[in-house]
């Protein structure tokens, strides 16, 4: 039987042409592409077969899967039923046990060389893998087997990318990210605790539209999502530059939306597109709501960016000084722009 394209699947489920083009437009926006790319994205969706996806869970909390469940453009129903063919995902699949294992093995044999692997959670390497076993097999074993014939791997969340919370000091279980185990496959890192679903959708669409994975920084993160510091896109940036800071929870400055740097904000050290795409369909993001950024998309943020409620003093003296004197002049001179390069 012919496999249907993504667009056919969406039409079958009652998605209008107008909504389809809106989805393509919003994806182009997340990817940081101009509107001239919309027809190219639309064409790819119309012509490309649904990619087969195998989703693995290791030392995780399922928060990244939950984040993907909150997708709105397209919705999770559309993603699961139309945009991709999700052959294995322990949290939502109907099959269990032998039948579940059959789904996994069918997928990696039938779509050999073509399937995408999504990995959620860290991989435990210590003591022969005893700290994370599924079906009596260690996470390292399963990762290697499934990666072998994959087209590409998308590591989602800070655990699968860099080890995340289980790898926080003293890393009791030897937790690592996918790139520490798999060396011979294209791997893209989509960190965040959890990852933001908009960046996941945009990565899949990028792959389908351009036939390759997006350009990344040296940490394997796509530039469209991690190219610019939170600080440089922050809606409270003006107050940083003029030296106006919230000092206490609920004080006047906090209520009026002034800068959270002195309450511990890690926005100046974090490359992530939270301020532009926000969370849950654009409802909010931590700084907007009034809580400092904790740098959740940075590799070792649990150690390097903690304590979360302390102003960073040892990290970058430039910022430490700036917070005291205000940054107006320096900002005008463009000295604070910190772009993340490949």
């Amino acid at each position: 039987m012919d496999k249907e394209t993504i667009y056919e699947g969406l039409v079958r489920r009652g998605v209008s042409r107008r909504d389809f083009l809106k989805f393509c437009a919003s994806t182009a926006a997340v990817l940081g592409l101009s509107s001239s790319y919309i027809p190219q994205i639309a064409e790819a969706m119309e012509k490309k077969e649904k990619p087969v996806v195998v989703w693995l869970h290791f030392q995780d909390c399922t928060g990244c899967s939950e984040s993907v469940l909150r997708a709105t453009k397209p919705t999770i129903g559309q993603i699961v039923l139309d945009v991709v063919s999700l052959e294995y995902h322990e949290t939502i699949m109907a099959a269990a046990g032998h039948q579940a294992e059959k789904s996994l093995h069918d997928a990696i044999h039938k779509y050999k060389g073509k399937y995408l692997v999504v990995v959620e959670g860290a991989i435990s390497t210590k003591d022969g893998g005893i700290y994370c076993c599924i079906g009596g097999r260690s996470s390292v074993d399963i990762m290697k087997e499934v990666a072998k014939d994959a087209a590409a791997i998308i590591a989602i969340g800070t655990c699968a990318t860099y080890g995340g919370i289980p790898a926080a000091k003293p890393n009791p279980t030897g937790a690592v990210g996918v790139r520490d185990i798999i060396k011979d496959k294209p791997i893209i890192n989509l960190p965040g605790c959890p990852l933001n679903v908009e960046n996941f959708t945009a990565t899949v669409v990028y792959f389908l539209t351009f036939g390759k994975l997006p350009k990344t920084d040296r940490l394997g993160r796509p530039l469209f999502a991690h190219g610019i510091l939170i600080h440089d896109n922050c809606e409270r940036r003006g107050y940083f530059d003029t030296g106006e800071f919230a000092k206490k929870w609920g004080d006047d400055a906090h209520r009026k939306g002034k800068c959270l740097y002195e309450l511990g904000c890690k926005g100046p050290f974090t490359y992530h597109n939270c301020p532009t795409i926000r969370w849950n369909d654009g409802v909010s993001w931590p700084v907007m709501a009034g809580h400092p950024c904790v740098a959740c998309s940075e590799p070792k943020f649990w150690d390097d960016n903690a304590p979360f409620y302390a102003e960073v003093t040892n990290k970058d003296s430039f910022f430490a000084k700036a917070s005291k004197i205000g940054l107006g002049a320096m900002a005008v001179a463009g000295l604070t722009k910190k772009e993340n390069k490949e």
């Binding site: 984040s67 949290t91 032998h98 893998g129 289980p166 304590p307």
Partner: protein, 556 residues
Amino acid sequence: MARLVIDPVTRIEGHMRCEAVVANGKVKDAYSSCTMWRGIEIILKGRDPREAWVFVQRLCGVCTTVHAMASIRAVEDALKIKVPRNADLIRNLIMGNQCVQDHVIHFYHLHALDWVDVVSALKADPAKTSELAKSISPWPNNSTTYFKAVQDKLKAFVERGQLGIFSNGYWGHPAYKLPPEANLMAVAHYLEALDWQKEVIKMMAILGAKNPHPQTFLVGGMAIPIDPESQNGINAGTIAALNKYADMGIEFVEKVYIPDLLAVASFYKDWANYGGNVNFLACGEYPEANGKLWLPAGVIKNKNLKEIYPVDHKKIMEYITRSYYTYSKGEKAGLHPWDGETTPNYTGPKPPYEYLNVDGKYSWGKAPRYEELPMEVGPLARVLVAYASGHKEVKEVADMVMKKLGVGPEALFSTLGRTAARGIIALLTAYKIKDFISELAANIKKGDYTIANTEKWDPKTWPAEAKGMGWHDAPRGALSHYIVIKNKKIENYQMVVPSTWNLSPRDHKGVRGPVEEALVGTPVADSKQPLELLRTIHSFDPCMACGMHIVEVKEE
């Protein structure tokens, strides 16, 4: 001996494994084992107690919020911080929103496929499905055209041959009892619930900055300011948006979830005979303005609803006799979490392995016991304790549900009762959220914008040593965190989570944990397709993906 291995069990969170012995078509014995460990208790040592919640929230992203709540309460208890009422209200809204959304997701996306045969829905008559839907609910999506469209989409999906998440299900299993029309209705609502859950949770996204893993929790209060004259605080627009999502929650639970639950349950009343337990613990939840909890705390022993015992955390001990840990006081010792130890000692088989050594240690989960007894926690415990305490709202809804199903309170001690209790709690919580919003609005009107008590924010104000504990009756059950603070740092941190209670392995006396006990006696029609076991396991809403081994003993 014929042996059958099932691994992993899906539609649950995390990594967990059970081995069960089946004889004469019934489960004779069961062993529940957690197969993943991250050592977060160890990672927390020496860190700032104020940020513990950021770490422990990552215990689980499905029941996000819950560990953050228990953690800030534990630190506030240790430092004797009284939280302003507004912070309690914002927390209540976040907890309530989480509970309602989580219970609906559990029913449709984690549990329904144990009762609903997706393939059978293809045979349904859309006109009769519409009649059925109209007879049980005024929900607007109930026309013949609507159900025909859902069925057509499902057909096209099946005919394409790429079944994705529905492939290799137990379709056609003899334990499925719903007529095709009820199956079609449930499948339609499975898809609707997928769209609903991402919308209703926006209440948490507004108050918590994002979901999963909201980020406005704070020791001493909340980090989201209130200011009706500012665009950066909770203002009148926020209150309007909260009401919108609260109404969306009520509508779906009232008109879709509860009618579906009752319709499905009416075909599975025999499940009131399986999957029960005898001891229950609820820690109570949702602080009211009068200082009391809206849902009461209590302990029930041996199914006796006439006597409710008060909950005292000092009576909790954790055992590791059959868990992959050692204690300095020996294998048989029980430790209160304040004195808890987390020293891994894996004695299980080397991976890859086929079976656990169930005669020895077999789980990364400890065995918590209350006065030496295993306790079931969760919606059923919450309903039973409230019902037996004469809680008016719980009694009304629980009586309505039992009346519609034609069963008495004894039917609650079962897989069916556990699944029904989750619906009862979801409905009452959806209603209660409206009260919390009104109270918050009234406080703002009075000019009370306080969101945090910052007197003890500076660690210099802390005593040299302090210890505290925090309860939270999370969607999956009673959760408690324990902290010992020394020289401004975390000296010890322990968590006794709902799934530690429910999925506990055997203890120092060899007594089974609640899931292990509930599985005994479960009928198994086809041991190659143990759908019935999944029903009982899923009814607990385990917070760890469960790898499950069934050992079938040849009938003698």
